[in-house]
Amino acid sequence: MPQQVQRLVIVFVVAIGALVGARQIMTPESFGKTGHYRAAAIDSVLTLPIRYAGEQVCLDCHDDIGEMKISSNHSGLSCEVCHAPAAGHADDPDTFLPPAPRQRGYCPLCHGYNPSRPSGFPQIDPVSHNPVQACVTCHDPHAPEPPDGPAECQGCHQGIVRTKAVSHHAQLPCARCHANTEEHRASPHPRELLPDKPRTRALCGECHASADAPREIPRIDLDSHEPKYLCWQCHYPHHPEAK
């Protein structure tokens, strides 16, 4: 064999040997076991932690809520949709407590009006639907039903309640001046059972003409202060202008 061919053979043998050797060293151990990939990668995926425990785990302890929920409109709703991933709570119930969203922004994620939602899905306008009130005051999230009657006056009288909320009368409950509010609200025919409105100047005088009332309440003398008129003919009680 000519010398140059011998040398070429040596070079080829060394190169191929180096390639085979490198391949032996560099190919991961489990590569090609079940396909053109590292079989051990599946094992490392399987060791990933679980964050969402799954509804069944929740109901193992909270079976009372599960029972309530199963026949309700939220039966298909997994606990961790609202209460955040709770595998930590399932492992160690005392140190990790899952949150319960009570702020108004949460429920409209599903129930806020959006024309792209399938028709028939219950939706409200979060801006005008009982503003400021937390959803849970009227609706039980574990067994939500549209409320029969409004729990608060603002269920219907939103405009008045919103106006009053920024006035000096913000702290006064509706029933302070209007009688029969409870009956009116609970009635299936609220228009036939209207709550009473104040009829006499004396009602306003209970605070504004009383010596016992707190000092920051503006005081008048009922006898001399425009005796011809009733108070609400000049002042709007839901938003009184006087300082």
């Binding site: 396909g35 590292r38 964050r51 298909g76 994620l109 399938p118």
Partner: protein
Amino acid sequence: MAQETRPEKRSATEKGKSQDRRTFLKQCLRGSPLLLGILPLEAEGAEEEEAYQPEEHLYGMGIDVDKCIGCGRCVDACKNENDVPREPFFFRTWVERYVVREEGEVEVDSPNGGIDGFPLQVDDREVQRTFFVPKLCNHCSNAPCVQVCPVGATFTTEDGVVLVDPDYCIGCRYCIQACPYGARFLHPETRTAEKCTFCYHRVRRGLQPACVEVCPTKARVFGDTRQRSSPLARFFRFNKIQMLKPHLNTEPKVFYAALDASVG
């Protein structure tokens, strides 16, 4: 088993020279189904029931577009479960809003993947139809991403889930280019390709993927396509099924019901 087939072989040879090689082989073959049929049966009975046989499963997901309310809880759950970066451009799953105008124009948007909900549209042109479409990796049987991976870091498991091996990925982004569904991204920290795993770590432990677990309207259904009775089997029975971009022959394993023609 060998004992069962042996007499056959003997008889073949005993008949001797009148039989040629072809008939002999034919007879052997006839015996072999018996052998194949009984062997696995016995093996199954002998092994523990708990041992997971990946080739017996083929996972898939069904999505009912008519049920999706676009609340984005699936996107949030996916990010929680899989530590997906919270920045608004890394998603393993996301929800798209489709708005088809009267004149036929199609608008698609997905603000932050739908995780914060969808703001009402200000455009007051007439809307013909509008709906939400959740999207994720389609776990294609003919996955383009798997084909292009130069190092074998992206692969299809025997139970049909397309996974990424982060220890082996070199971050070349070929797979991101190849995916016709835009389902992949490069993780900003590890610099390796990332995608939906069907929550493989949950599925193998008998749980549902996180997005399916939290879907409030059960618009997402997960299951084993080889199982005869399962929510997914029911989904197949009661819906007309479509897939995304069927003309690409990727053979997706995410199946859509009530999919609109405008969805690409």
